[in-house]
Symmetry: C2
Subunit: 218 residues, 2 copies
């Protein structure tokens, strides 16, 4: 953070990464550990960045939205996009503000999405989304109806061109600051699930299922 931060993945190093590579495995781990991403695109000269839910199906990132969404339509039409997944893992508290920074893991994926239109494929993709977002839910929830499937746009973005950046080192202070009397170290952060809150209209005899009772995050 302060003064001289990392500004995230370095855009000068945009390059093609091979699936099956170590970078690809690393990217998948970062993507799979998150439920939301930020989708960037431009309409005319105006950039937009929208938070969206995601899941991964092998070498594709899946996004979904209402069939009525102008954004989904633009993305399905092949608008260039950049999808970024970020975990803020901690604050690096160095002896100087200048050398303080953050622990994070981030993936930027570049490319164009395509709409998944085959009904079976779409159903399967939406099930992957459901299961990624609420692990265990798919086995219990009713199947989506044809009407629901028709009301939904499912997009697949190839995880082919991407960059990964992981910052996880301890403070790296200037030698002249090492005798400073201030504490230095890392404050770790993690997204944690709290106590589930039943819907106001939930029938009292329906218990919280085991898959929701366990911690959804590490």
């Amino acid at each position: 953070m302060p003064d001289h931060p990392s500004t995230g993945p370095d855009m000068r190093f945009r390059r093609l990464r091979k699936k099956g590579s170590r970078d690809f495995e690393l990217a998948c781990g970062i993507i799979d550990a998150a439920r939301i991403c930020h989708v960037g695109f431009s309409l005319g000269q105006q950039p937009y960045v929208l938070p969206m839910a995601h899941a991964r199906d092998g070498e594709s990132l899946l996004l979904h939205g209402s069939i009525a969404s102008r954004l989904m339509k633009s993305l399905a039409d092949g608008l260039n996009c950049c999808v970024t997944v970020t975990h803020l893992d901690g604050l690096v508290v160095a002896r100087s503000a200048f050398n303080s920074s953050m622990h994070y893991r981030s993936v930027m994926i570049f490319g164009r999405a395509t709409a998944v239109t085959g009904m079976d494929e779409k159903k399967r993709g939406l099930e992957i989304l459901t299961e990624h977002l609420i692990p265990g839910r798919l086995a219990e929830v009713r199947a989506s109806t044809r009407k629901e499937l028709n009301a939904t746009t499912l997009l697949a973005l190839p995880i082919r061109e991407f960059t990964v950046k992981v910052s996880n080192a301890p403070p790296d202070d200037a030698v002249a600051d090492l005798d400073s009397p201030v504490w230095a170290g890392v404050i770790p952060f993690a997204l944690k699930a709290g106590t589930p809150e039943a819907a106001p209209d939930l029938k009292k005899q329906i218990p919280l299922p085991a898959y929701l009772a366990k911690k959804l995050f590490r």
Copy 2:
């Protein structure tokens, strides 16, 4: 999430919000509760979305980076950008995958940043960043040197044109699903600070300061 998600702030409703308005106060609360944002912009036809640390100075969002960063230079030159701050607050577990969604708070700010070049202003802005990112740190850490200030670009983006979206309602199921035997409700999420980890080269007699010992997140 599943099937028919909210896809974040609706870009059709991009409009000017007045500072001092209820929306402005809401936006500031969302911005102030976060330490990172996602900065979107396009170079040529390629959009980029980068995670960056931020802080707020009244009606401006502050971003900072290395003077050597091409991104910081492009932003300082007046590149159109969109900065989005998002908190994932929970999973809305509805009786159907289709009606399941997420609790979140999100602000999208549109505009052009300007570089803060006056040395006193820059020093003040970077101090605001330090204190926002690590509350309590500023009083203890040494002042930035002239060399450090010169190595840093500080940007200010007016919080003038923005949209806010807050999703915090319980599951909204179709009437036909209300007799479903499955649990429905919300799993809340929050970013939590863990146990501070001292730097490997920290002198043993330096204790963890009180401002870092307390929980940095709610």
